[in-house]
């Protein structure tokens, strides 16, 4: 067995070991080196969208995930909200996820407190943001909000009449918000596209988990004006708003892991081409 044949037949446990070492190393020293994340157009366009908003403009953020996807989706929720509060854009929050309400409440409270500290101004409920709560049957809720938010949400999460919240004053439906951002880990993203954007044609952008992202790229440019996928997308946004946090801290491990895998693929191919071995083709 020459070296190239060895490269081809390398025991996969070496791959495991190498990956484990590299990722733990990168994770241990994640604060010691930072990775310059390359930002992509699909994330930049969301950033530009909020950057271009006037203070007092409103966006609807739909937090359609539950605690099980919190780790992956929270960084992007945070980064976007911080950006909104920095710009003075008001955030109307809603959740279409059954187990999301308690979590959204916490997320809103934490991020608004953080924004208040960062930007040295008061970020208060009812004027800078509000949370209108949860209703089941997302397709119907999305359609209903197109008529009027009050159809399904006459009162907010804390049982205040929507009309009593300054932020909701004169806000009727999607026409009165600048755009809709749905951060989602489930099928509600499809519903936002089919029942929200296709029907009411409001500007829509999604933040989704890494596994889901490829399913939504085809909608970019038509149904969606922007897309944030997984940690990478969140890290880009954090970088754009200059608030590196969880997602950016995860990036060294990500970059290292991706490099490792690419490296192994290259090794495998060099070995394969040089050793001239023929193996059965991959099957379809």
């Amino acid at each position: 067995m020459n070296i190239f044949e060895k490269m081809v037949a390398l025991d996969r446990r070496w791959v495991f070991l190498f990956l484990f070492v590299v990722v733990s190393f990168a994770y241990f020293f994640r604060n010691s080196f930072s990775v310059d994340v390359v930002t992509t157009k699909e994330v930049e366009s969301i950033y530009d969208f909020i950057e271009g908003a006037e203070p007092g403009d409103k966006i609807l953020m739909s937090f359609d995930y539950d605690p099980s996807s919190l780790a992956e989706l929270h960084p992007m929720s945070r980064a976007i909200m911080l950006h909104c509060f920095r710009q003075g854009v008001q955030v109307i929050a809603v959740t279409l996820s059954q187990y999301g309400a308690g979590m959204v409440e916490e997320v809103l409270r934490d991020v608004s407190a953080e924004a208040a500290e960062l930007y040295g101004r008061e970020v208060s409920y009812g004027t800078d943001y509000c949370f209108i709560g949860y209703r089941p049957y997302p397709a119907f809720v999305i359609l209903g909000m197109g008529e009027n938010f009050r159809v399904f949400f006459p009162r907010d999460y804390y049982d205040t009449l929507l009309d009593d919240l300054p932020i909701m004053h004169r806000v009727r439906n999607y026409d009165d918000v600048k755009g809709v951002l749905s951060i989602t880990s489930g099928t509600t993203s499809d519903m936002w596209i089919i029942y929200g954007n296709a029907r009411y044609n409001m500007p829509l952008a999604l933040g989704v988990t890494g596994v889901m992202a490829t399913d939504y790229y085809p909608y970019l440019g038509n149904a969606l004006f922007g897309l944030i996928g997984g940690w990478k997308g969140a890290a880009e946004y954090e970088q754009l708003v200059d608030q590196p946090h969880d997602a950016n801290r995860g990036m060294p491990a990500q970059v290292a892991a991706h490099l490792t895998i690419v490296l192994f693929i290259i090794i495998g191919n060099i070995g394969y081409l040089m050793s001239g071995r023929k193996k059965p083709k991959i099957g379809v």
Binding site: L10, R12, V15, F16, L19, F20, V23, V35, D36, V37, V38, T40, K41, E42, A213, T214, D215, Y217, P218, L220, G221, K232, Q254, V255, A257, H258, L259, T260, I261, V262, F264, I265, I267, G268, N269, Y272, L273, K278, K279, K281, I282, V284
Partner: protein, 207 residues
């Protein structure tokens, strides 16, 4: 009788489900909700069948002292402890301390770790399969590599790579997924129709 009754049930119930989609009336909506509720309850009854099978397989392993029979004891112990904790009369619900803690400190860590094994397996699968063996395999390799390299800061190369990656995700990705989805939609609808009409009946067995 043994065949006809089940096939009739399938036909009637499925026909109702198709028609109710077009009828917004209350009575139909209630009936629909009932049917869904009923199937969920029948599903829970079925869990008993599962537990029975689990008990039987493990009991026999222990009795026959077949290979690794000791571990069957672990399975049965885990099962019984969890059932006792979950069913003790008077504790009455699932909020109880032990049940919750067994969930959070036994089930959740194992589950999350099993899930995270994917990080390793995705690496080994990529290493093994992403090879330029044939034209098709090379395409797989190429587009996979482009998407992965997108992660790595590469100076001036970053921009074009990111552009190509986005194009792949937006264009061929759309075409392929649409074709697959249409195929699945038709195939699934055809299978559903065959079940309704009693043509596809393998699920009933043959006796």
């Amino acid at each position: 009788m043994k065949r006809r009754v089940p096939l009739t049930i399938v036909f009637i119930v499925s026909l109702f489900m198709v028609i109710q989609y077009f009828v917004p009336l209350d009575s139909w909506a209630w009936m629909y909700q009932y049917l869904i509720d009923w199937t969920i309850i029948i599903g829970v009854f079925a869990l008993l069948l599962g537990i029975w099978s689990l008990l039987r397989v493990n009991y026999e392993k222990i009795q026959r002292k077949s290979e690794n029979w000791q571990y069957s004891i672990v399975t049965l112990l885990g099962l019984f402890i969890m059932i006792i904790v979950g069913f003790v009369p008077g504790w009455g619900n699932l909020e109880n301390y032990t049940y919750q803690h067994l969930f959070y400190y036994v089930l959740v860590p194992i589950q999350a770790t099993m899930f995270s094994l994917l990080a390793f397996f995705i690496a080994s699968a990529a290493f093994r399969a992403f090879r330029a063996r044939s034209a098709l395999a090379s395409l797989l390799l190429f587009s996979g590599l482009i998407i992965m390299i997108r992660f790595v800061p590469m100076g001036p190369l970053s921009e074009p790579i990111s552009e190509i990656a986005t194009w792949i995700l937006q264009v061929p990705n759309l075409a392929a997924k649409r074709a697959i989805i249409i195929g699945i939609g038709l195939g699934a609808a055809a299978t559903a129709l065959k079940i309704m009409l009693g043509i596809e009946r393998a699920y009933l067995g043959r006796d």
